[in-house]
């Protein structure tokens, strides 16, 4: 656990038990005098020492020295995937249809299966395996950004790899580095299987331009042949991230994040209807978020449901 994660745990525990919520605004510093610091420095120093040690050990083994992007062998394997992606038409849902995705999430000892039906305008119905009796259905709008892309958002992205690489590097956030954030965004953009072929090829080629990448033949957790592209960030404590692609179609088969998290995509097809039980149990259709948080026009219609 990182210093920030530890601080979050302590802070949440303090705030939850506090009788008065602590002040929100940060105090304005008085000009000419140093502002008092309440930072807890020791966890930062401990974490920093660990990070520096990890960097020294790993940096030579992973990063191609002095050159941005993946090493030549990985580039060749990734380029083959990109060519295949550009030629594979995919199974994108048409207006009136729904993208149907089945994913199996394994985290530690827990496994759940999530099914998602996403309408052409971005409203998603989901069902979850529920072994604790929690509500197993939901309906909601995506955020329509790189973390949760709508069809309209995917269509708005550049399909030139250089332009897409530039776009992602200037727009993504999160993760331990920009390279890590770009790698995560690549998974986000390809996960639902709705990216058009030219965009899929461009996303894969962005990985060629990302440092810390390796590629190898592998199998996913259900035994399917795959090309496994792995991103290793020396500063990341949870371990390497991997995207596993079908070598025949370049569709995303699986995501791995460290040793304890695997998301396996076993089914990605257009569907004509949302199952009636899902539509009924998920509850009323939510209002669309304000235009500021969505990049697509409000053209939604009621779900078509299957009996």
């Amino acid at each position: 656990m990182t210093d920030i994660e530890t601080r979050l745990q302590l802070t949440f525990a303090h705030v939850a038990d506090a009788t008065v919520i602590p002040p929100v605004p940060r105090p304005e510093p008085v000009p000419g005098t140093p502002a008092p610091s309440h930072r807890r420095r020791w966890p930062v120093l401990v974490a920093l020492a660990g990070v520096i040690a990890a960097v020294l050990v790993v940096i030579e083994a992973v990063l191609p020295s002095g050159t941005p992007g993946a090493p030549p062998k990985a580039v060749a394997a990734i380029e083959r995937l990109a060519v295949t992606a550009a030629r594979s038409p995919g199974d994108r849902a048409k207006p009136g249809q729904y993208s149907h995705l089945i994913e199996r999430i394994r985290q530690g000892n827990e496994t759940i299966v999530i099914q998602t039906w996403t309408s052409h305008d971005g409203l998603s119905w989901r069902s979850y395996t529920a072994n604790d009796g929690a509500p197993p259905y939901s309906v909601g709008w995506g955020e329509s950004d790189t973390a949760d892309p709508s069809l309209q958002f995917l269509d708005s992205l550049p399909t030139n790899p250089t332009a897409l690489n530039h776009y992602l590097r200037s727009h993504v956030s999160g993760s331990s580095s920009t390279d890590a954030a770009v790698f995560t965004a690549a998974g986000d953009l390809l996960r639902q299987g709705d990216a058009p072929p030219a965009l899929r090829a461009a996303v894969i080629r962005v990985l060629e331009r990302t440092s810390g990448i390796t590629a190898e033949a592998a199998e996913d957790s259900v035994g399917r042949a795959a090309v496994k592209i792995t991103f290793t960030d020396p500063t990341r404590q949870s371990g390497p991230q991997s995207l596993l692609f079908d070598p025949k179609t370049s569709s995303l088969l699986e995501e791995q994040d460290g040793p304890n998290f695997t998301a396996t995509y076993t089914y990605t097809r257009p569907a004509d209807k949302v199952p009636a039980v899902v539509a009924a149990e998920a509850g009323p259709r939510p209002s669309r978020p304000s235009p500021a948080t969505s990049s697509s026009p409000a053209t939604a219609s009621s779900p078509t449901t299957a009996a």
Binding site: Q9, I21, P23, V24, A134
Partner: protein
Amino acid sequence: MVRLGRLLTGSQALGEDLAQEAFLGLLRAGAVAAPEAYLRRSLVNLSINHGRRAARERAHLLTLREQQVAAPEIDEIWPLVLALPPRQRAVLVLRYYEDLSEAEIARVLGCRAGTVKSLASRALRRLRLEIDS
């Protein structure tokens, strides 16, 4: 539930309001197999919807309704958490206060586990940048 509401909204009063609304929703829903999970999910959704509707109003409420009392034991990270977008904040609270797995958070938020990972990653990155700046 009020504590969770407080963490999700940054406001005792608003947390109580939303927790009450979640309980009313549970009453309206009738028999529910897992009331606690139902309440948690309702509360998170209410806080996110509220954040989308009225982020500015919420900030105003905070300054008006909460007594500004210094609490030195509270890490400076707290106001930074409150400045996060509602879904990112919810992911952090569910992960580091409720101790839920990413798969469980995905069920609470009604999204994919990969999206939870992205939201958590973005939130932590933003906090790191703010702290280092």
